[in-house]
């Protein structure tokens, strides 16, 4: 067989170097070719990650036993020998950017699996890679503002199940302090962003905008390089399919946190619409989560220095001391129920009465407030006793005006009785307010949450004091309320108007532990009517105008583009089959009862829509088994399109 020259570019020789020429015959297999090239470069290094890339055909030559002939490679082919893993900048849901080694030769689905394995994210099938939005807006000094990049390129994972340390951190993060810091960043929600950061980010204003996002998903069945992604490019890692399988806080520290971050940004950037009440609850939860993640001692830091017994013992001792003090505290709160009695002013708004506060001696008893003419008479029958169980408590406070009122709506047989209690100062107010709140939930002052409730109220009062104009990110206790709500509410409310509203929502969540708070946030997010709908602009067969197709985890929704009304929904479980005509880029779906729909895609390629629907169907096939192996083959079959077969 005749030998011919094959020209191969080798990156390691430098960008200027001419392509190497190796003499080959057509029956030489790829492995042999690589060997020849490597010999010719005379560079000694580990070449095991390298593979041949055929540029004209945009194809990897990954089967070493195939011959050149089988690949139909002739002398005109221009190949390059290049590593399969290259550094990639990956934008995470929490807004940070990681630099890591990603596989450029395997289908994106597997690349994502690799990345998720590295980051300790379970269920990688729910995530995918998204091209970032092109920043074409006036190129102001964006470049100057270099993003913070966490470098994980040095990190290598062992194949097989990731071994985790006792604190849930996978082994491979324990390499160095830097990587540990990265893991902390991954697994702990970030502090609230400065309000201006939120305002500066692009927000979708219409269905059209929301549909545009989904045109940027990468094709899961093709490799990064095939899709034109270059080394050091930036891609976004996002949860793509909104059905989060088997979310378990025990194993899913990173997953839960990143999911929360994605949800938080979806809310802040008005990607998912919610009502004002819902926004306040989201804000309260964000505040709470931020606060708890800052204060709670994170179990994330491993103790590599633990090898000698002394330090271990020391550690133990400290722990015991801490525990002791906790019990001591407990004992205190338990045995000495805080008493609460004082002179306060009361006012009951009634028709035809002049507004006037009268002073009485007030005493808190279990869940009731009693008041007396004076302290001296407090042993006699009270003038009135009000049971606060089930009542509504609202603040009526102005720090600037030194007005500290508690508005109580106390239910009675005849209706709700409105009562205002006026306190003299912040301290008094926060104690009475906390007591009222607990009582409304049927708890007494003896409840352990009393003191933390008092503190919460005080820190909220402090929030009111801080200058609302200052754009500061969340620090210890102080936080800008604008950081917690979407820009729409920046315009609608002044900061001091927002504070009491968030505080009101906050009282319902203030006692949640971190994980529960995260889960609650996700639950409310998932409960929103618009949750989990991915929009695509499509044109239905036989229609002249563009419409929107919403794809969710259980149904397809046809939506009017201009009004946003739902026209029709089809559920997957009534779906009989779907076909893609790749030539005319049209999808045809048949449902039970001879319902047929067909549409072509406008904003995204047909492949993306097809993959979305197939992906959701794949997600539905997953079982609850823990040890289930990801059925990649099925995924590719459901989402792949013609070239995947």
């Amino acid at each position: 067989m005749a030998a011919w020259d094959l020209s191969v570019t080798v990156e390691e020789l430098g960008p200027e170097a001419p392509p190497l020429k190796v003499s080959v015959t057509s029956d030489l297999h790829i492995g042999g070719v690589i060997l020849k090239i490597v010999e010719k470069t005379q560079i000694k290094k580990d070449w095991s990650d390298h593979a041949l890339w055929w540029e004209q055909k945009q194809q990897w030559l990954l089967r070493p036993s195939w011959t050149l002939e089988k690949y139909e490679i002739h002398a005109d082919a221009r190949l390059s020998l290049t590593p399969q893993h290259k550094p990639l900048r990956l934008g995470l849901p929490n807004g940070t950017t990681l630099r890591l080694q990603a596989c450029f030769s395997r289908p994106v689905f597997q690349t994502v699996m690799g990345v998720c394995h590295l980051l300790n994210l379970r269920h990688p099938e729910e995530l995918s890679l998204l091209r970032p939005m092109e920043v074409k807006k006036k190129k102001k000094d964006k470049e100057a503002e270099e993003e913070v990049v966490y470098d994980l390129t040095g990190l290598r994972t062992s194949s097989g199940p990731a071994h985790t340390l006792s604190n849930g951190m996978p082994m491979h993060f324990a390499d160095s302090l830097q990587t540990e810091a990265v893991y902390k960043m991954l697994s702990v929600s970030l502090p609230a962003p400065a309000p201006e950061t939120i305002t500066k980010m692009p927000r979708p204003t219409s269905l059209m905008d929301k549909a545009q996002v989904h045109s940027r998903w990468l094709d899961s069945s093709r490799s990064l390089l095939q899709q034109g992604v270059q080394e050091h490019d930036r891609l976004l890692l996002r949860f793509k399919y909104y059905c989060f399988h088997d979310l378990d806080p025990k194993y899913d520290a990173v997953r839960l946190t990143q999911l929360y971050e994605q949800a938080r940004w979806a809310i802040l950037l008005e990607d998912v619409d919610c009502t004002e009440e819902e926004m306040m609850l989201f804000a309260a939860l964000q505040y709470h989560i931020g606060k708890v993640s800052l204060s709670e001692p994170q179990p994330m830091t491993s103790c590599p220095a633990m090898d000698d017994l002394d330090s271990a013992l020391q550690c133990l001792e400290v722990k015991m001391e801490a525990e002791e003090s906790i019990t001591a505290d407990m004992l205190e709160t338990m045995t000495v129920a805080p008493e609460l009695q004082d002179y306060l002013k009361i006012f009951r708004p009634k028709r035809l009465t002049l507004k006037g506060y009268k002073q009485f001696w007030f005493a808190f008893n279990n869940t009731s407030i009693s008041y007396y003419k004076s302290k001296e008479e407090s042993l006699k029958e009270p003038i009135q006793q009000m049971n606060l169980k089930g009542c509504e408590v609202a603040p009526d406070v102005s720090v600037a005006g030194q007005k500290f009122c508690i508005r109580l709506l106390i239910p009675g047989a005849e209706g709700m009785n409105e009562v205002y209690l006026r306190c003299e100062n912040e301290l008094q107010y926060s104690r009475w307010m906390a007591a009222c709140r607990l009582a409304s939930k049927g708890k007494t002052l003896a409840d352990s949450s009393f003191s933390s409730e008092v503190q919460n109220i005080q820190s909220f009062l402090a929030m009111q004091r801080t200058n609302p104009g200052a754009n500061i990110a969340q620090t210890d206790d102080s936080i800008n309320t604008y950081s917690l709500v979407s820009p729409r509410y920046h315009k609608k409310y002044k900061a001091k108007q927002l504070t009491p509203r968030i505080l009101e929502a906050y009282q319902n969540v203030a006692q949640l532990p971190l994980t529960d708070a995260l889960l609650r946030f996700l639950q409310i997010w998932q409960g929103l009517p618009d949750f989990g709908v991915s929009y695509f602009v499509v044109r239905f067969k036989g229609c002249r105008k563009d419409e929107v197709l919403g794809v969710t985890n259980n149904r397809l929704i046809r939506i009017d583009l201009s009004i946003g009304d739902v026209v029709k929904t089809w559920r997957y479980n009534t779906m009989r089959q779907w076909n893609v005509n790749w030539d005319i880029q049209q999808m045809a779906i048949e449902f039970n009862g001879n319902v047929n729909i067909a549409f072509s895609c406008v904003t995204a390629t047909c492949k993306i829509v097809h993959e979305y629907i197939g992906g959701y169907i794949f997600m539905a096939t997953r079982t609850k088994e823990q040890a289930e192996v990801l059925n990649q083959e099925l995924f590719f079959k459901l989402t792949g399109g013609h070239e995947a077969i």
């Binding site: 009502t275 009440e277 019990t327 618009d530 089959q577 779907w578 079982t623 079959k637 989402t639």
Partner: protein, 662 residues
């Protein structure tokens, strides 16, 4: 002082051991003896406004008495058990306050002390006699503890004090005497303890009536003044809402079938696909319904049906009804303000569900000039009279009203609703199994008789509620004496053997936290004894008592079952967990049951065959729910571009696997 402390801690340790031996570690611990006494002591006071006992008829009183006795006896038993095991749980209590400084804040502690004297009149339970004796023993131990590590002891003491406080807190349990109006208009009087859920009370009623125990049975409250009605949810505490009633309230508690209670789980499509055309809804296949329930109730968050529609709202103050476009979301009901779109950001919150309940309005057309009679109301449960804080809404038809009320319940109660339904289903499945089984057998035990008695009695009438201690005395000079006495005579057997009684309580507590429900059944048997023979002849259906057995609450009552299982090998093999549990109790038979058993035997042969039938019933019911193997989500793209020929089969396999695993 030190001694007292030590004694106290020692005592608490003992109590701990005891409660553990009772098998109540994780669940709401059975209150220690002192507390259960306290129950008895306080019960009946709070109820005056709920139900004036003066209206109780004598028969009712009998039943009530039996209940009371049950509680007492139960207490005694427990007390006996504890005392027998450890020699003094009670006596040191008077010393509690000095031991821990904080205790004086708890009225309960001071309340619990008097319990010991209270014991006097009740001494019919034998073991009690031992109680005073052991007081001497504790002081000996303290020294040991004292000598060694003081710190640890202090710590332990702290823990124990905490424990004691918790227990004391629990001791203050409120009880109500509630008259429940049955579906046939008769009424029945029950005692309900603060911790009992509606589910517990329903179970209790199932035992006392001959109803079929299907999932639709519910308790509801009516408010004639406001013309409102609301079905209680099974997980709610019954006492809470009743406590809101006013003294002169004409409100009633009804025991009736309400098909709307769990309609959403039977026909989820009516709620979640209400926008679809009627035909698709009607033709919905069972497995599609299952899928819908699964989608909306089994995920990480509960999905609330997205309702929207024009409803009439009664304007505050004004007497007119105005139309508005309302939307239901998980966070509340919203309306679309004039000239705004119905996008989320423009919605105005009408009401959130934290503090309100949803009620059906009756005949509002007359009362409030509503456009239709299909009205529902949102109000704080405390509000009992007309008020501007009540929100009245009116729908075009019953269907819409049902949709909204159910939607609101889903939004308000979320997952609990589904849990309740599953529990009800289990209950119903077991019971039907029992009924089928026993329908042939002639008769049974004794429980039916009180039922009939009570039913026949119709209205109530009687005496003011009394502290439990009193009943005994009263009983003496009233006609009912025999019943109360009987139980005491029959019951003692268990207490004497301190080792035996413990087993049943744990069983019961595990199944149904409120322990009080347990005792009630025990005495119900004996009480009814005298009249039994006559009433039984024409009362074939024994299901209630059987169901009671099913619930595994009072194992000793029906000990005979074991043999049957043998005959039904296969069925038994597939028995789901519940029945076995109920039959496990048999072990304790030895001392306690024999007497009763013999009595029962006299009335009618014990029903041995139940278990198999239960399994049969269980099998059948689950099969309805669990089968439907063909995966609903199956898409069959035989021509699908992506797939090859075997692709479908693979998908089917995956789905089947998934199904199989669920």
């Amino acid at each position: 002082m030190d001694d007292i402390d030590a004694m106290f801690s020692d005592l608490l340790g003992e109590m701990d051991l005891l409660t553990q031996s009772l098998g109540v570690e994780t669940l709401p611990p059975e209150p220690p003896s002192s507390s259960s006494k306290e129950n008895n002591f306080s019960m009946g006071f709070a109820d005056m406004n709920v139900e004036s006992l003066n209206e109780l008829e004598e028969n009712d009183l009998d039943a009530l008495m039996a209940d009371l006795m049950a509680d007492l006896n139960d207490t005694e038993e427990k007390l006996a058990a504890e005392l027998g095991g450890q020699k003094e749980a009670e006596a040191p209590h008077p010393d509690l306050p000095p031991a821990s400084h904080g205790l004086s804040f708890y009225p309960e502690s001071s309340l619990s002390t008097p319990t010991s004297p209270e014991r006097g009149p009740n001494t019919f339970s034998a073991p009690l006699a031992d109680s005073p004796a052991p007081i001497l023993s504790p002081p000996t131990l303290p020294q040991h503890a004292k000598l060694s590590m003081e710190e640890i002891e202090a710590q332990m003491k702290a823990d124990k004090i905490k424990l004691a406080l918790e227990k004391l807190k629990e001791a203050k349990v409120k009880k109500l005497v509630v008259k429940v109006v049955m579906h046939d208009g008769s009424s029945k009087t029950l005692m309900v303890d603060e911790r009992q859920t509606v589910r517990d009370v329903l179970d209790n009623l199932f035992e006392k009536t001959h109803c079929d125990c299907n999932v639709d049975w519910s308790l509801s409250e009516t408010n004639p003044e406001l013309q409102l009605e609301r079905g209680f949810e099974d997980h709610e505490n019954l006492v809470d809402p009743l406590s809101a009633w006013t003294r002169d309230s004409e409100n009633k508690v009804l025991f009736q079938e309400r098909p709307d209670k769990y309609e959403v789980f039977k026909n989820p499509q009516n709620f979640y696909l209400w926008k679809k055309d009627k035909k698709t809804i009607k033709d919905m296949k069972d497995r599609d319904k299952e899928l819908l329930v699964e989608e909306n109730f089994c995920g990480t968050s509960i999905i609330v049906p997205d309702l929207e529609g024009v409803l009439y709202l009664r304007e505050d103050g004004k007497k007119s009804w105005k139309q508005r476009l309302f939307l239901l979301r998980a966070s509340g009901i919203y309306y679309v303000p004039k000239g705004k779109s119905k996008t989320s950001r423009d919605l105005v919150c009408f009401v959130q569900f934290d503090n309100v309940n949803v009620y059906y309005g009756k005949e509002f057309k007359n009362k409030y000039k509503a456009p239709t009679d299909f009205c529902f109301v949102l109000k704080h449960p405390q509000i009992q009279k007309e008020s501007q804080y009540i929100k009245y809404l009116c729908c075009d038809d019953a269907w819409t009203m049902n949709l909204w009320v159910t939607g609101i319940r889903i939004a308000k109660y979320g997952k609990s609703l589904y849990e309740n339904y599953k529990t009800s289903m289990k209950k119903a499945a077991i019971t039907t199994a029992w009924t089928n089984r026993t329908a042939g057998t002639t008769s049974i035990p004794s429980t039916p008789s009180p039922t009939t008695k009570a039913k026949a009695s119709g209205q109530a009438n009687g005496h003011a509620p009394q502290p439990p201690a009193e009943p005994v005395a009263k009983v003496g000079n009233a006609p009912p004496p025999p019943p109360p006495m009987l139980p005491t005579q029959i019951l003692p057997p268990p207490p004497p053997d301190p080792v035996l009684p413990p087993p049943p309580p744990p069983q019961a507590t595990k199944k149904s936290p409120p322990a009080t429900s347990v005792p009630r059944q025990l005495p119900s048997l004996p009480t009814s004894f005298p009249p039994l023979p006559t009433s039984m002849a024409n009362l074939p259906p024994p299901p209630p008592s059987l169901s009671q057995d099913d619930s595994s609450e009072s194992p000793p009552d029906f000990l005979p079952p074991p043999p049957p299982t043998l005959g039904f090998g296969p069925g038994a093999g597939s028995l789901p967990p519940p029945p076995p549990v109920s039959f496990l109790p048999p072990p304790p038979p030895d001392p306690a049951p024999p007497p009763r058993q013999s009595n029962i035997g006299a009335g009618a042969p014990p029903p041995p065959p139940p278990p198999p039938s239960a399994s049969a019933g269980l099998q059948s019911t689950p099969s309805v729910r669990r089968t439907g193997p063909p995966p609903p989500k199956r898409t069959t793209p035989p021509l699908a571009a992506p797939g090859g020929g075997d692709f479908m089969s693979e998908l089917a396999k995956a789905m089947a696997k998934k199904r199989g695993n669920q």
